[in-house]
Amino acid sequence: MALHLPARLSMPIAVSALALVSMACVNAHAQDESAYARKASKPLPDGGPAPRLADGHPDLSGHWYLGLLGKEDATLNGGGFGGDPLQRPFDPKVTPEEKPAFQPWAAEKIKQLNLNAPAGAYDKLPKDQKIAILKNEILHLSQNCMPHGVPGNFDAGHGVQLVQTPGLLVQLIEQNHDFRVVPTDGRPHTKDPDPSFNGEGIGHWEGDTLVIDTIAIDERAWVTPRWTFHSPREHVIQRISRPSMNYLNYQVTVEDPGVLTKPWTTVIHHFSLSHEPLLEWYCGVGSHDDEDIAGMKDELKKLEATK
């Protein structure tokens, strides 16, 4: 949409520049072949057995990335969840994931927000729907440098570092410098905890699987980028295990009697071990993504003015 431009850029110049772009159209496939040759990817070996702490539990510590590559690298072929299958958390052909069973109003809301529609569909939507989508997108957590909260901060797409000691799991989330501290000593939930983006997460071990039970999640936190609302009754159960040195298995169940007709459980999502350090991720007020938000607000204003 990009309607927010430096004042020195005039529309006539922009239009003439675009005209030049269009005039110089060439064969798409020829152009694509000449584009950057991205590298092929290769999954990590299993790396041997998972390490264990002195208390006998598997040590989940490590810097983990979604997929099987153990790294985040845009030079790889496909370079993302929708591209290189090895950077996806699971292969839907091998382990298809059940869709959440939304209550009718929630299903309608998801539909209205077009959150499962093919890319590019936005342009063809009726005006009212565009308005609803824009209002939702303006609040996008990533775009606003907001924490993703639970469960989204585990598999939002950038690195997650786990640091485990007996009785405690610390989750360091690179995006937005976020963190979460989860006691794993078997204590119960507190009485009536206040809501927060990460909620109140309490861990316990079931065999070699760490189970984190979370309640009191702030309603602004999104479940996934395509499921952006939940009720105060949301209850999230995350199961984490380390089947080998280089891999982490992650599965989440969402119970939300205010939104779902039955609990929803993902298939196992795979993470792989990185040996790179987490990096600084400063993102705050004054970020240039404000340009994108300003553009969306302009678009929203225009749509509402034509009502």
């Binding site: 949409m1 990009a2 309607l3 431009l5 020195r8 850029l9 529309m11 110049i13 922009a14 239009v15 003439s16 520049a17 030049l20 772009v21 269009s22 005039m23 110089a24 159209c25 060439v26 798409a28 152009q31 584009a35 991205r38 985040e72 690298d73 845009a74 496909g78 370079g79 993302g80 969840f81 929708g82 591209g83 959150l115 499962n116 529609a117 093919p118 890319a119 590019g120 569909a121 936005y122 997108e137 996008h140 990533s142 775009q143 440098c145 797409g157 950038h158 690195g159 995006q175 980028p225 790179e276 990096l279 993102c283 970020s287 240039h288 993504d289 994108d292 553009g295 969306m296 678009e299």
Partner: protein, 145 residues
């Protein structure tokens, strides 16, 4: 150093049908701002870089035959992803005022903005500043925070 034409703007318009399984809200804001079915190469003089999250930005001046200068604005991925893809801030700073070529998906609005994928530097190196956003068959790119 390879010399570039003062104005070298090449575009690709892909008309193939969109058969996408990519989620609608892949890169946040991408769907509203950029056209993942088009691919352009913009060549001009690097003027500015903003090295920050959630996305890096940089500006390139393109001069038309009649001498008009247009400042094109490019958006890449996050600093962390760009760094892990082997790119440093100095790749931009050391080439300030020099000619570079950028490939990516243009803004739908027709304004001079592009979701950048790669940058060809004056020394001939092609650096990657985002996950792949154009797949050559009319699909926009995947998630890209």
């Amino acid at each position: 150093m390879k010399r570039h034409l003062p104005l070298a703007v090449f575009g690709v318009l892909v008309l193939s049908p969109v058969l996408s399984v990519v989620p609608a809200f892949a890169h946040h804001g991408f769907q509203f701002e950029y056209d993942g079915s088009k691919y352009v190469t913009i060549t001009g003089v690097l003027r500015k870089v903003e090295w920050e999250n959630p996305h890096i930005y940089f500006n390139v001046d393109v001069t038309s035959k009649d001498g008009k200068v247009t400042s094109w604005r490019f958006e890449g991925s996050s600093v962390t992803l760009v760094r892990r893809s082997g790119v440093k801030l100095s790749d931009f700073n050391d080439n300030m005022g020099k000619t570079i070529s950028v490939k990516g998906c243009p803004a739908k609005s027709g304004l001079p903005r592009v979701a950048a994928e790669t940058v060809k530097l004056p020394d001939g190196r092609e650096i990657v500043v985002a996950r792949k956003r154009y797949f050559g068959d009319g699909k926009p790119g995947p998630d890209d925070n």
